[in-house]
């Protein structure tokens, strides 16, 4: 536990010094939050049903964030070790394989979920001010579940994909692009929602959640096998 904390704190300190990571992790939340806010701003003065529809679409941006933010963080935290040749000294310490894996995952998952929730809270506050209250019938159980449960699941998915991809290449850009691509399928439900303009319903949320849990379980299985000392030293490129 102590070593896990040591690892995570160092990781954040280091990531905070990489411009790409800072821009990468801040750009998306700002963009999505801004877009969502802009939509709501446009809804001022519209009839309540139209306002609710706009609001619904705006909410979807908050499901893109948790899966996209962790990519840069996870890629740099793994590729960085490889680039700098720090893996071997690190693996020579009493740090366990499991601590290394969990540490690296938490390093990316926590800020992603945290940022998503922060931007979401800011958005709600802004909407409340602009619309003089949140349109009734939008902040329902499916939405609240999406934000509280789907977001972390999506973040874990984004992180696991990025970690797997990063272990296979030492070029951060390639890893970044590849992980970005791999993460796109999770956006499909969002595209469907916004094209159909259907409100998110409980069934869809449960379905998506179930699929994510399964996918994450498979990725976790693969990642844990990849995060063994011997594997890291001899197979990682």
């Amino acid at each position: 536990m102590h070593r896990l904390r040591v690892l995570i704190l160092k990781e954040w300190e280091e990531l905070a010094k990489i411009k790409m990571v800072i821009y990468g992790a801040l750009f998306l939340p700002l963009l999505m939050g801004g877009l969502a806010g802009f939509m709501v701003w446009q809804g001022q003065g519209l009839p309540p049903e139209a306002q609710a529809a706009l609001f619904n679409t705006a909410l979807m941006y908050f499901l893109i964030l948790p899966v996209m933010i962790p990519v840069t963080l996870a890629v740099y935290s793994i590729v960085g070790e490889k680039e700098q040749g720090t893996l071997e000294p690190l693996l020579a310490t009493p740090l366990t394989d499991w601590e290394l894996f969990v540490g690296k995952a938490v390093v990316a998952v926590l800020p992603s979920v945290g940022l998503t929730w922060t931007v979401f809270a800011l958005f709600l506050a802004a909407a409340h001010v602009m619309l003089g209250g949140i349109p009734s019938g939008v902040l329902t159980l499916p939405w609240l579940l999406s934000i509280t449960v789907l977001s972390p699941l999506l973040a874990v998915f984004g992180v696991l994909v990025s970690m797997l991809v990063s272990s296979r290449t030492s070029d951060p850009r390639a890893a970044y692009q590849f992980s970005g691509l791999a993460v796109v399928p999770t956006l499909v439900p969002l595209i469907v929602y916004s094209v159909q303009m259907t409100a998110v319903n409980l069934l869809l949320v449960i379905l998506e959640g179930g699929i994510l849990v399964l996918l994450n379980a498979v990725l976790l299985f693969l990642a844990v096998r990849l995060f063994r000392r011997e594997e890291i030293l001899t197979r990682w490129k």
């Binding site: 102590h2 070593r3 040591v6 690892l7 160092k10 300190e13 280091e14 010094k17 990489i18 960085g80 700098q84 040749g85 720090t86 893996l87 071997e88 000294p89 690190l90 693996l91 020579a92 310490t93 009493p94 740090l95 366990t96 000392r229 011997e230 030293l233 001899t234």
Partner: protein
């Protein structure tokens, strides 16, 4: 302190280390010598519990490799072949990270102690990216020591350093030996091995030789003695008549004699030459350098057992 029995590692069907059996005593520096690809790094990695052996057993500080990995990792300090650092972080932060991972009770003072000892304390707030290769190597030594390991693995500690930095590092290693740490030193530098190591193991996938540097040289250079004469005469070579002399040959003013054991036989040889009326100007044992010995050991396609 370190013991291996038939330690073996394969990568697919390539043998990297084959049946290595050796022992490093407490406080000893054992040099591991061998050409590129001989299996030095692989051996160190197995002993540091980074790679699992595919055969044989090994113990480090009384703990068995593979069974008590975490105990071994805490007792062992390792300077890896290419020691990397988090280059955006400061020297101090890098050191503190490793000290904390090793569970050093008072990381700050341990970090300060070793940064000072290696002359890096003034640069503690600089990013590692700004360090020269020599300073980086010193920092790597500091890192390998920060948890006060009893056993040290140093994989080519002076590779790529300028002569002065290399000398500093060697001096430091000698100090470490005075502190009774047990050191396994991989190197290509024979002078370094000779200067620092109590014993030398020559490895080429298999262990080819293991002995003290002087003994290795003696064993290999055998038995040639060169005598310089003021009055060279053919009978000096012909009429020696000593049982220990295997061959003698006169070339110009120098007489080359093969004896069984120079240590024992040179006095008798000199006595006999004087009896024959030789005017001896100098007697030299044909000492070969460790380099010659080493090249002979590792040379050839079939390693001599």
């Amino acid at each position: 302190m370190i013991r291996t029995e038939g330690l073996t590692r394969r990568f697919g069907d390539r043998l990297a280390v084959d049946g290595l059996t050796l022992e490093v005593r407490e406080g000893e520096i054992l040099g591991l010598l061998g050409p590129n690809g001989a299996g030095k790094t692989t051996t160190v990695r197995m002993l540091a519990c980074l790679l699992a052996p595919t055969g044989g057993r090994a113990w480090v500080g009384g703990h068995e490799v593979g069974k008590e990995a975490s105990a071994i990792r805490s007792t062992v300090g390792i300077l890896t072949e290419s020691p990397g650092f988090y280059k955006r972080l400061t020297l101090e932060r890098n050191m503190r990270y490793f000290a904390e991972l090793y569970g050093v009770p008072d990381p700050r003072s341990a970090v300060q102690r070793y940064l000072e000892r290696l002359g890096l304390w003034d640069r503690r707030t600089d990013a590692v990216a700004t360090l020269s290769k020599g300073l980086r190597q010193r920092l790597a030594l500091a890192r390998a020591l920060v948890h006060e390991p009893k056993v040290l693995f140093l994989d080519e500690p002076t590779a790529g350093l300028d002569p002065e930095s290399a000398r500093d590092v060697r001096r430091f290693i000698a100090e470490l030996a005075d502190e009774r740490r047990t050191i396994l030193l991989c190197t290509h530098n024979l002078t370094e091995a000779e200067e620092l190591c109590n014993r030398i193991a020559v490895l080429r996938t298999r262990l080819i030789a293991l002995d003290r540097p002087a003994a290795l040289k003696r064993r290999m250079s055998g038995s040639r003695v060169t005598v310089e004469l003021g009055n060279p005469r053919p009978e000096f070579a012909r009429d020696l008549g000593l049982p220990c002399v295997r061959a003698a040959e006169l070339a110009g003013p120098t007489l080359q004699v093969e004896v069984a054991d120079p240590e024992r036989d040179v006095p008798a040889l000199v006595r006999r030459l004087v009896e024959l009326g030789a005017e001896i100007r100098a007697v030299a044992r044909d000492e070969r350098s460790l380099e010659d010995v080493y090249l002979e050991l590792v040379g050839g396609n079939d390693a001599p057992a």
